[in-house]
């Protein structure tokens, strides 16, 4: 397979076909929790993009240069990756807090949420220890491939977050039946959105 085409497939697969939220059911908690306002959703999406890319990079390095050579990957990858993510998130939070208060106000509140965002771990694991998510594409990612893939995942997350936040903003003025107000209508919208995303299934054989 042509290199560029493979990158494209990886990216598209992560972004649409196996959309992390709607098709893979990962990162649903922030999807429901942080999508009541468009600005917040955008902030969250940016933070996730940033943290996710860093996490994948560090995980990839530690997997390929520490865990695999030592032969302990099989049972240590979960603690190691999540340790990396948690430490990274906390480190980034502290740095941002120091460097720029406005940036912290805008982004800081989402950072702790990201630690427990399934998507970061899932993307890191998938990119490093492929086969996790059962994509229809040959595995064994090089570092650039892992990063491209991760960016696809993060943008897929962002796209759906922003769509969803805009929809919820519009629903704010709608007379939704009382028992459906709040989260339930959110899930109904998610159901229909995921219905729409099913149209992309098997795109380009992915």
């Amino acid at each position: 397979m042509n290199e560029a085409y493979r990158y494209f497939l990886l990216f598209l697969g992560a972004l649409l076909v196996y959309n992390i939220i709607l098709i893979r059911f990962i990162a649903l908690c922030p999807f429901m929790g942080v999508s009541t306002q468009v600005e917040t959703a955008i902030g969250m999406a940016m933070s996730v993009l940033f943290v996710m890319t860093m996490a994948t990079t560090v995980s990839w390095i530690s997997w390929n240069y520490i865990l695999k050579p030592l032969g302990v990957g099989e049972f240590l990858y979960i603690p190691v990756f999540i340790l990396i993510i948690a430490s990274l998130v906390q480190f980034v939070e502290m740095v941002i807090k120091k460097i720029s208060q406005p940036l912290y106000r805008a982004m800081g509140i989402y950072l702790p949420l990201i630690t427990t965002n399934c998507a970061v771990l899932a993307a890191a694991t998938e990119a490093v220890k492929p086969g996790f998510l059962k994509l229809n594409i040959a595995y064994h990612f090089s570092l650039p491939e892992a990063i491209i893939y991760t960016i696809g995942v993060a943008l897929g997350f962002g796209l759906v977050m922003i769509m969803f936040a805009c929809i919820r903003e519009r629903l704010e003025t709608s007379p939704v039946p009382h028992s459906f107000r709040g989260a339930p209508i959110g899930f109904i919208v998610a159901a229909l959105l995921s219905l729409a995303f099913m149209g992309f299934a098997n795109l380009l054989g992915l």
């Binding site: 603690p79 059962k134 994509l135 299934a201 098997n202």
Partner: protein, 182 residues
């Protein structure tokens, strides 16, 4: 300040060491079983695919695939050999992800049976590939037989992609078999 840094580092270190030891132990305990389970699964599929083989001990994994086939065949993963025939494990792109099959081919070069190892197809649609009536159609086929959907093979209703993937798997297996230098 140094004291504080040390304290933080040490806490994390101690917890990690305890965790690492615990996990190492668990791994050590479960390792073999996991490996066995995995193999057992494959072997079970192989037995399903090659009904003449009665016990796992009759099967042997062929480690020297590349050499034997000379040419690479895309979807072929592994080959088990036995006195009764060979089982070829193949993988193709289905609708919801890869479809892994075990194709058992007898000494006569005809398919003896097909077994599903794993797949991720839609329940009610593609997942019907597990059904006996679909898989049994391939019995007796050999390399070079026309395998055309609608004519030679009855497709799974509403699941052309799955059907095609299974067909690809089978064709690859037959092709690989034909390449085996005997």
């Amino acid at each position: 300040m140094i004291e504080r840094i040390l304290r933080l580092g040490l806490t994390l270190l101690i917890v990690s060491i305890v965790a690492a030891v615990g996990l190492g132990l668990t791994y050590a305990v479960t390792k073999e079983r996991i490996a066995k389970q995995k193999e057992a699964e494959e072997v079970k599929a192989c037995i399903d695919a090659l009904p003449e083989v009665k016990s796992p001990s009759e099967l042997k994994e062929d480690k020297d695939l590349e050499k034997r086939m000379k040419k690479k065949v895309e979807g072929v993963m592994k080959v088990y050999t036995s006195k009764k025939g060979e089982v070829i494990l193949v993988k193709a792109r289905g609708y919801g992800g890869p479809i892994n099959l075990a194709v058992g081919i007898g000494k006569d070069g005809k398919i003896q049976g097909v077994a599903v190892i794993s797949h991720n197809e839609t329940p009610g649609l593609g997942a019907n590939l597990e059904k006996e009536e679909f898989l049994s159609q391939f019995k007796g086929k050999k390399n070079g037989d026309p395998l055309e959907i609608g004519k030679d093979v009855k497709p799974i209703t509403g699941a052309t992609v799955t059907t095609k993937a299974v067909l690809t798997d089978i064709k690859e297996a037959l092709k690989a078999y034909s390449l085996f230098g005997r």
